[in-house]
Symmetry: C2
Subunit: 213 residues, 2 copies
DNA sequence: CGTTATGTACACCGCTCTGTGTGCTTACGG
DNA sequence: CCGTAAGCACACAGAGCGGTGTACATAACG
């Protein structure tokens, strides 16, 4: 006991139940999916009574939405804010995902919830648009002729790799990265002296967890 | 006795309950998803008693698997067997999908079922591999340098467009088609005299339903 | 100290889901 | 025309789900 306190809003919470619930959500929703994770199981994993859970969230839907909302910040900055990489390398680093990564939770939520009006679905949309925008920014920084287009294209590649990895049960990100390299080199006018087509190994984004595929 | 056949393709059923069940599955599973479609609703739509349904399928899992198995044939031949198109046009025609198309049922099943061992998930994998193989064949026919690679790349683009269309609630296939055009032209050595980059409108795969995105 | 927000323990409700048991009706083929 | 298999109606079992009610414990802070 006697743990750290201080909730996100800085209010005093008796003993961070909310955080444990959200933390358990991250794990269980991602590993098992949303629909296959019951509130009972989730509360058990969070070591929280069911009653408490429903005092923090009006319902599972709200919890799911909040679970998705928590993903944004770290992911976006995790790759795009790396100053040790050139813009081009940063674009490619977005494809450097550990092969065991479950499945982009936004895609999972959109498919499982199946309701575009659901708050979680709207977060998913917003997130995907934000990623595309960040990619576009980086593409602009890299000198791409049409940054918005390239950003959208790379975002599509990431989603394709995520979906395909799930269906085939085999890592599809290398393929996506190869395509990305082609697109990037095609989009940057007087581009770099690009190495042999399969040079994507040079990006080596090191130990960034990168869970936003 | 005197009755014989009861093959899986079973003929001579009193009055085709099995077919109605599968037909209703196609519609409901695709429109609503698998988990959100109960057997009660499905039986009602098929105008079949629940008892009958469970005499044809040992359980929902088997029904789902059979539902996926029925998709393969028409989709593959629907695009790849078109003799009125050049190989290159056929490759691009795979991206010509009506914007209202729900979501590739194989991706949906893989996400919803969440179990790679499930028979339906295995059908999904097999189908995706078959599509990639067909694309590779067509790529070879078109004279691509590395047909297998191009096939895999185009397959990834299709899946990416499907997933992204779902998440963003906006058609992503045009973007995918644009990428495909770049990849194809890059892969075919002394390629065609290609028109302005955004010529993908010329493929116009006409009224092919094409449900396999 | 005592008040109050917070968390707990556990039973419980109503609903939906997959799946059955039972007995009755209909269609078809010999 | 009759036998048999296919299909039907309906109720119900058993489980899991989301969500609640109640009564009690504890931590924080004045």
């Amino acid at each position: 006991m006697t743990e750290l306190e201080k909730g996100p809003q800085g209010r005093r919470r008796g003993r961070g139940a909310r955080e444990r619930i959200l933390s358990a959500s991250q794990q269980l929703f991602r590993e098992q999916g949303i629909n296959r994770t019951g509130m009972d199981q989730l509360c058990a994993a969070a070591q929280v009574s069911k009653r408490t859970a429903y005092q923090h969230f009006t319902g599972k839907d709200e919890l799911v939405a909040e679970y998705l909302r928590r993903f944004d910040p770290s992911v976006l900055s995790g790759v795009f804010d790396r100053t040790d990489l050139t813009p081009r390398e940063r674009l490619l680093a977005a494809f450097d995902v550990p092969p065991t990564t479950p499945l982009c939770p936004y895609i999972g939520a959109a498919v499982e919830l199946h309701d575009p009006q659901h708050a979680a679905s709207q977060y998913a949309r917003a997130y995907k648009e934000a990623v595309a925008a960040r990619l576009a920014d980086t593409a602009r920084e890299a000198g791409a002729a049409n940054p918005e287009q390239l950003g959208e294209q790379l975002a599509l590649l990431i989603d394709g790799a995520a979906a395909r990895t799930r269906v085939l049960n085999a890592d599809a990100f290398p393929t996506a990265a190869a395509i990305a390299a082609v697109l990037i080199d095609n989009a940057i006018p007087a581009s770099s002296p690009r190495q042999p087509s399969d040079d994507r190994g040079t990006t080596r984004s090191a130990p960034v967890p990168m869970e936003g595929q």
